[in-house]
Symmetry: C2
Subunit: 417 residues, 2 copies
Amino acid sequence: MNAEIIAVGSELLLGQIANTNAQFISSQLSEIGVNVYYHSVIGDNGGRLKKAIEIAESRADLIIFSGGLGPTKDDLTKETLAEHLNVPLVFDENALEVIEQFYKNQGRTITENSRKQALILQGSEVLPNHHGLAPGMMLQKGGRTYILLPGPPKELEPMFQFEAKPKLASLISKGGVILSHVLRFYGIGEAELETRIQHILDAQINPTIAPLASDGEVLLRITAKADSKEHAWNLINEKKKEILDIVGKYNYGVDDDTLASKAVNMLLHHKLTISAAESLTAGLFQSELAEIPGVSGALVGGMVTYTKEAKMKQLGIPKELLDRYGVVSSECAAGMAKKVREKFGTDIGVGLTGAAGPEPHDGEPAGTVWIGIAIGDDVATKKLQLSGLRNTNRIRTVKYTLSYLIRLLEEKGYSKV
Amino acid sequence: MNAEIIAVGSELLLGQIANTNAQFISSQLSEIGVNVYYHSVIGDNGGRLKKAIEIAESRADLIIFSGGLGPTKDDLTKETLAEHLNVPLVFDENALEVIEQFYKNQGRTITENSRKQALILQGSEVLPNHHGLAPGMMLQKGGRTYILLPGPPKELEPMFQFEAKPKLASLISKGGVILSHVLRFYGIGEAELETRIQHILDAQINPTIAPLASDGEVLLRITAKADSKEHAWNLINEKKKEILDIVGKYNYGVDDDTLASKAVNMLLHHKLTISAAESLTAGLFQSELAEIPGVSGALVGGMVTYTKEAKMKQLGIPKELLDRYGVVSSECAAGMAKKVREKFGTDIGVGLTGAAGPEPHDGEPAGTVWIGIAIGDDVATKKLQLSGLRNTNRIRTVKYTLSYLIRLLEEKGYSKV
């Protein structure tokens, strides 16, 4: 099955937003083995859209539209496709009821334009919209599959993932199942990881294994096709074990895990509290932890000690230590970790100091970073030499710190969760 | 002039990255009045690329390519276009010298593949690459303009903005100039801003005025066409004054300003120091300030007091105050601002507390936020009622705090810089 994704919306052509819908759909399609050969973006213009549909039909058998299902005159994706395919639009009673109820709850009178959102291509399967009013749809016609999705990502993403994708997967596997599972690695480069598991990559048939690098992380997607879910999971788990036997040290999580969610869940599970003292990252480490709901069970708080003076006065790092070793040093990072842990009375203390760039800092070149982590009375430190821009260096420092924290906790006998 | 942007790269079709190059180029083209009607994405495949070029030629007179100029076998944008247009590829001596020097400096032997990056379409103007090895190019042929740009955004963006765009602008204006200037607003919605300046929008001819909303901000782009730079600037400045007379209160900056850069520059200019105590944002406010190089002249540091206990013990907020008003209150935000200012000995103290969500916090619904800002002995507080997801609420809080800080400083007589 070869796919083309057509995004409809003038805001894309004006550069107001990036086409993240096409990215999301593509990455989801790759999980079930569908090849995407084209993305197209068209403005809110019926004539140009019609021509784009003709082009897509000449080169794809799965055509996925995003956008143009809303209530305004500019929204004309389904109208254009209906005309092109010579399929009438009919009201979907469920969708109409949802829209009418929505207006009723708001105490507003329903408009004709709003009703039009409940129109679907006759003969299509409705894809319910749990985050908005316009339903999606999936239509088989002339040997092709057409899928229409609403434009807002918060509506499109769950609709594609949970409604459209399973239907596509069962179409492709003809009754069988396709499952995929992502292994997430940090602290190893893509090239090195591929080299280490080269024999497994070379021998892959089913499951297939696809490496992906993104933002300092490496992901391996394992995709299995089988006659039952159970069988597919068995295939995946066998392959997963083979891989982790070799590079398990760098594996921090699976699927939608993030370094922050993984670290926070470990802390919560083992009832460990944490505080941090940050210099170059200036609060970004703590802020990353705070992205995870429920973190207040683990994160007590911490300090941002941006200046040398703040490190001395607020945190109590001795002036002699800073004068002797500098603020960008193992000693300073260790001192910050210990002091903040004591001050906030937590199980774990983290200290981060370095030269974010673009200028050197306290005699150390841009990109030099020291991480200190105190777990109980033990303090470990680690040096990073980064080569990115100022903010890339700050973000990488936070990611590395999270992966280092997970590794140190494991070494202390705290299991991953 | 009608444009199509063709991005070449299988990583886009696999969903590994979003097509931010097309977004960037589109937004740049809108500044000089070029209409973009299509974006296309094609994999690293010569046959499919050739067909995409044919389609683009049937519907656009400016065709811009991104990607596929690198040294590997997969990079075949210029090879494919050369064959299609029947134009030979020739070595550009300058580009070749840069590549040879690069290898020499690294002590490596140059490969034939690397040399291929210096090949250009005969008769094209070279667009120098100041951030990588592959030059871009611009070719006029058969009444059409073809522009080829490298894929990495850090190479493509400056090359398009500073090399290709001025050439296009002078092509379009036939010797005249097109200039554009962006006014940035915060704290006013797009609809309200448009309503307030409706008479100006309705009457626009030259300069044109285009509103854009993005991430809680509203932007107005003023674009003027004239026979000289000076004349274009005069047109822009007249219109700018008209607009700011009405909605100047919400204007925080221009062009590439950010709320953080604007606030930090004001602090540095007026030699003011700042500290912050953060609860729901957990360091994100301080981290945003720290994105700006040179911030250490203003940001001393601060605290993250995530738990109620940390607010009492570390910051010294009285238990009675928190019991009486709750941690999500004007009193708590004001107390945090005052206490952190005293503790860190800064001119300004910021206190942020609230319920980020998804759960209510201390009896207040998700999205309730209190901002406290102490400038000297004066403390101002402000309530926000946000409706986004947890992290959107945290980011919006930081943006609103920055704009509120700028406004309070102005009211105290500190000029914007």
